[in-house]
């Protein structure tokens, strides 16, 4: 009877390789692995060929799945290797760590989505590896382990060395942890010892124990007695927990995702695991291939040169082997022409990797799946392949709940239902969905478990992650935030709304781009307005809108200046949308907005004569001035008389006909009713048209055409009728003043423009 301790580093490919070799040589008849006891009943699923890492064991209380714990495994995780070795050789295998329930029940505060990782080794605030590294003359504990264990070709003897080293470290680090952590660690090690003893009692001869290197000294024989351990383990709290497998991703295995025992670069580790010899050359070849996929020309010879540079660097830095740092430097200098941007294009994809695992269909349902089935049953939405259409009335709690469920699923990429445009009905209260279940949705649902254990948690997290991704990669994330918020409101994710509102507020104070802020307002305004239909956090959002509006109001004038015609048109569109959105807001906001429009209109009037001169670039574009005037008139912020004055001033004051035409386009586009009903405005336009010389008029025709083409046919008909009527009136009234013959010639064209011809 013998116990063999394999001290490993979680997710260390070097450890995994040595372990694989060690197990093959040892031929144990029982394997014990450091991992929570609750998972023993589902371990068997790991033997199935359809279980492909990265996957994770998920442990959760059935009544509150959001308090769940994950134990991820990659293909290069030593624990995974041990599991697979056991199944392949038909050896009993067991997880021997303290049940999660013990620490779960003991915890008073309810922390969400904690990751109780078993890698105490890495989490210790005073990195014990650092001690070893310093003894070896290095200043980086992780890096030392990497170079001495992970990147080196494997050897069986390495485990004896690790055991000795850890013995020395543990013997010399008296108070590394807090009393609470210390107590938990004592319990864990006592539990593991007890499990080992019971395996020995069962009569296994050669027992392989795979645990974090840190625990090795504590699991040796005769460290403690059965009686002492039972004393430590007395009165452990109990709790019923479920366990299952879920797919995991490299992204979430990476430490950057917040997983404490994570590794820096899972993709790099996988590479180390997969490539037997010369990982450097193979890695650089991969980098070259990735660059080529992105359209960057990289000759094969460059990969060779890069390998040589990496080797030269390693020898210059006194390293026995080429590491990731050398490869990074070599790839940048040789393959990317020193360009950091090219490097970042491929770095993340290769180093972290995008791999997502799969779990067999037979595994127990994930909490999310259970929740979906329960909810679907409650809401009478059958989960089958048949396609059905539902018209949801959001004013009823039932319809609202259905809509909420479907929206949450869409956020998670589970497109069970597709929302269709509502025709005829008021969109606020109705949604029409076509739902049909497809088998691949089960896979997406399982992947959603990555984000959280309940639909609301997972959807919230998915949104927040998307926002964070945008914040870190997009130059101006504001539009992304704005586009996310609509779906979030519909899915009723209050936490995500808060997060986005805060993100928008923060970004708005950093950006000076008024256009982006303008685009963010309409969806937010909808939240603030319809927050009563959906019971979400509308007050907070309303205050964000207020803040945005204030910033827009300050910057609007300069944002409308120095624009060319295309840009001005884009800005007009934004102004229109914002204006529409503001109508949903309260009186203060409306006043703030009309105030901004008015300032834009009023201030440059004194200098409008200069518009055609050099000063033009500092003034708002005439198109936008015209639009501002129109919007102010529409919302009763200025009297009709003021609008007339503005129009007269602009049409006469802009000596360049094209600019005057722009003003007119801004003022008139949209709806023709104004011209039909306001005779004074009609007269001004009419008179101004008469003052134009023939070639000026011809120049202006495209603009006029654009204005009138957007009116409804009915409006155009009425306008044409008005032209005819007024023409005859003006002939009788003031025949002496007008050149009738010339007027007639114009009228034909105007009629044509107005769509009558």
């Amino acid at each position: 009877m013998s116990r063999h301790l394999f001290g490993i580093r979680h997710h260390g490919p070097g450890s995994a390789r040595s372990l694989e070799k060690g197990l093959r040589e040892l031929k144990p008849d029982c394997i014990l692995i450091e991992g929570p006891a609750e998972t023993n009943e589902v371990l068997g699923f790991a033997a199935l060929p359809t279980m492909i890492p990265p996957v994770a064991l998920l442990i959760y209380p059935p009544d509150n799945p959001s308090r769940s714990v994950f134990y991820p495994f990659a293909a290069f995780s030593p624990e995974w290797i041990a599991l697979r070795h056991a199944f392949a050789n038909d050896i009993p295998v067991r997880f021997i760590d303290l049940p999660v329930a013990a620490s779960f029940a003991g915890r008073k505060t309810k922390e969400k989505r904690e990751t109780i990782d078993d890698a105490e080794l890495l989490r210790l605030r005073h990195d014990p590896l650092l001690w070893l590294a310093q003894a070896a003359g290095e200043d980086d504990g992780e890096g030392w382990w990497e170079r001495t264990i992970e990147e080196r070709p494997s050897g069986f003897g390495v485990f004896e060395g690790i055991a000795e080293a850890m013995e020395a470290v543990r013997g010399n680090t008296p108070e590394l942890t807090s009393a609470e952590e210390r107590r938990r660690e004592d319990q864990r090690e006592a539990w593991m010892r007890r499990e080992i003893r019971s395996a020995e009692r069962e009569g296994h001869e050669t027992i392989a124990i795979v645990c974090g290197a840190w625990h090795v000294p504590a699991l040796k024989p005769k460290v403690s007695s059965a009686r002492k351990d039972n004393e430590i383990l007395r009165s452990l709290p109990r709790m019923r927990l479920h366990a299952t497998w879920i797919p995991w991703s490299y992204r979430r295995l990476a430490r950057s995702s917040g997983y404490g025992a994570g590794v820096e670069y899972p993709g790099w580790y996988e590479h180390l695991w997969m490539s037997d010899h010369s990982p450097a050359a193979a890695w650089l070849t991969n980098v070259a291939a990735a660059l080529r996929r992105d359209g960057i020309e990289v000759p094969t010879s460059a990969a060779i040169d890069a390998t040589r540079l990496a080797e030269a660097l390693a020898s210059m830095r006194d390293l026995p082997l080429v590491g990731l740092r050398e490869l990074d430097d070599a790839a940048r200098s040789v393959l990317c022409d020193g360009d950091e941007r090219k490097m970042t294009m491929v770095r993340e994809g290769l180093m972290i990797g995008s791999r997502i695992g799969t779990v067999p269909e037979e595994t127990p349902m994930t909490p999310i799946e259970t929740e979906l089935r329960r909810e679907a049953k409650r809401l009478r939405l059958p989960i089958d392949g048949e396609s059905r259409e539902y018209d949801l009335d959001l004013r009823t709690p039932f319809g609202l709940a259905r809509s909420r469920l479907l929206h949450r699923l869409s956020i998670l990429g589970v497109d069970w239902g597709i929302e269709r445009d509502v025709l005829g009905k008021k969109g606020t209260f109705h949604e029409v969905w076509r739902i049909a279940w497809r088998p691949e949705l089960s896979v997406r649902l399982a992947e959603a478990s990555l984000m959280g254990s309940t639909l609301i948690d997972a959807a919230t997290r998915a949104v927040i992650e998307e926002a964070e991704r945008a914040a870190s990669t997009e130059l101006s994330p504001l539009p992304v935030f704005a586009s996310l918020i609509d779906g979030v409101v519909l899915a009723d994710l209050p936490e995500a709304i808060d997060h986005l509102a805060r993100a928008i507020e923060r970004e708005a104070s950093a950006t000076s781009d008024v256009s982006e802020m303008m685009e963010a307002v309409p969806p937010l305004a909808r939240v603030a307005r319809y927050g009563d239909v959906r019971s979400s956090n509308r007050l907070a959002v309303a205050s964000v809108v207020k803040g945005l509006l204030r910033r827009i109001s300050v910057g609007l004038q300069s944002a409308c200046a120095s624009l060319d015609e295309g840009e001005a048109r884009g800005m007009m569109d934004r102004i229109d949308k914002l204006h529409d959105a503001i109508r949903l807001m309260d009186e203060d906001d409306r006043r703030e907005w009309t105030g901004a429009l008015w300032r834009m209109l009023a201030r440059p009037m004194s200098g409008i004569q200069h518009l055609s001169t050099n000063n033009r670039r500092a003034r708002a574009a005439p198109l936008l001035l015209g639009r501002a005037c129109r919007l102010l008139l529409d919302s009763d912020a200025i009297p009709s008389g003021e609008a007339q004055r503005q129009m007269e001033l602009s049409l006469a004051g802009l000596d360049n006909t094209r600019l005057a035409g722009n003003w007119l386009e801004g003022f008139l586009s949209g709806s023709g009713l104004l011209l039909l009903h306001d005779n004074a405005l009609w007269r001004i336009v009419d008179e101004w048209l008469h003052t134009l010389r023939e070639e000026e008029f011809i120049h202006l025709l495209p603009v006029l055409r654009r204005i009138f083409a957007n009116y409804t046919p009915a409006e155009r008909r009425q306008l044409a009728r008005k032209v005819e009527k007024n023409a005859s009136e003006s002939v009788t009234e003031s025949a002496g003043v007008y050149d009738v013959e010339r007027g007639d010639r114009v009228l034909g064209v105007v009629a044509l423009v107005a769509g009558r011809g």
Partner: protein, 366 residues
């Protein structure tokens, strides 16, 4: 940047002369393996460039910045690939190139300055025509270029501003770098490179109207981009060290301005250069000039000279103002708008920059 030697009267000494004692010091303790014909091991070269303490004295740092970049540069030269130092102007490309050549070959003088009018003979070889006519073609009549000399002697040759050289002339380097030989068809012979030969080229990526390297030539180079200093304190340290050295060398009696004054100049440069305030809160218009560290150095040393000869011997804001404005406003149109916006939105709002704001405001109103 020139550092005149007061003893010899030479305006600027070569790196290997100025730092001869440091090179000697390192050579004495450097026990690591040296590539053929190298005066120091790669480790020793890195120590020389990056500075450090050794037995018997201290090595002054020649380059402040990312250690890894310099290591990559040195490792490149130790393989048979050539080194291209790339980056915006004023990031010490030529400076690094000179010191690398000095440390590796003990000689930084094998230099070709790239210009638009440079002919192929400057990279390969020319002829002494009197001899050519008198004696006919022979090795004696041939005038070797610095590159040919470097090949023969196994040293480092330097090509400054590689991208200013016409493309077809640039490509003369391809044979030299890939075949390590320089054919001399007139004599039916060739000059072969000896071990230790390599080329360091510099080029800046901000210039307009330059000749991009052909991809064939580009492949012969490993590229190291020397960035503008990523952190304000790093840049201040560079400016201060250089300004002090320059002041001593040029015999300017005025002491360099206080660190806070340097910090202000450097901050202004950095903020305008990056188009964003240091706290990342406000975006700014960037003027057309490069506003490199080297320019910050010349603004401050110019201020010192002004103060010494026309002022009261102490650098005031006024002494710095004209140099600063000159560096920022290169193009009177858009640059002066950017500068004014910066004054009104940033300088004005910083309480302790009040004096600066007043001085510049006066200059604008004049």
């Amino acid at each position: 940047m020139p550092t005149p030697d007061t003893a010899t009267g030479v305006l600027r000494q070569h790196a290997e002369q100025e730092f001869a004692h440091e090179l000697e010091l390192i050579a004495r303790i450097d026990r690591k393996q040296r590539p053929p014909n190298w005066k120091l091991s790669p480790w020793g070269v890195a120590l020389y460039v990056l500075g450090g303490k050794v037995r018997g004295g201290a090595i002054t740092p020649k380059y402040f910045g990312n250690r890894r970049l310099i290591e990559v540069a040195i490792a490149t030269l130790a393989t048979d690939r050539a080194l291209l130092l790339f980056g915006p102007p004023g990031t010490a490309k030529s400076w690094v190139s000179e010191h690398l050549a000095a440390a590796i070959s003990g000689d930084s003088r094998l230099l070709v300055q790239g210009t638009a009018g440079l002919g192929e003979e400057a990279l390969r070889y020319g002829w002494n025509y009197a001899r050519l006519i008198a004696e006919g073609p022979s090795m004696n009549a041939l005038v070797a270029s610095p590159i040919m000399v470097a090949m023969r002697e196994g040293r480092i040759a330097r090509v400054e501003e590689l991208t200013r050289i016409a493309s077809d002339v640039q490509d003369a380097l391809i044979t030299i770098l890939s075949e390590k030989t320089l054919p001399i068809p007139e004599l039916g012979t060739e000059a072969q490179a000896h071990r230790g030969f390599n080329v360091i080229a510099t080029a800046n990526n901000r210039d307009r109207g330059v000749n991009e390297l052909s991809s064939a030539l580009r492949r012969r180079f490993n590229t190291v981009i020397l960035p503008l200093p990523p952190h304000v304190d790093e840049e201040i340290a560079i400016v201060r060290t250089r300004v002090e050295a320059l002041g001593r060398a040029l015999d300017i009696p005025t002491p360099p301005p206080a660190i806070d004054e340097i910090r202000r100049v450097v901050t202004i440069f950095r903020e305008l250069r990056s188009g964003m305030t240091e706290d990342g809160r406000r975006r700014l218009k960037s003027p057309s000039g490069t506003l490199s560290t080297a320019e910050a150095i010349s603004v401050i040393s110019g201020g010192m000279a002004l103060a010494a000869h026309f002022g009261d011997g102490e650098v005031t804001v006024g002494d710095l103002a004209s140099g600063l404005e000159g560096a920022v406003v290169r193009d009177p149109g858009p640059d002066s708008i950017a500068w004014r916006e910066y004054l009104e939105t940033v300088v004005r709002e910083r309480a302790d920059w009040d004096d600066l704001y007043r001085v510049f405001r006066e200059r604008i109103e004049e």
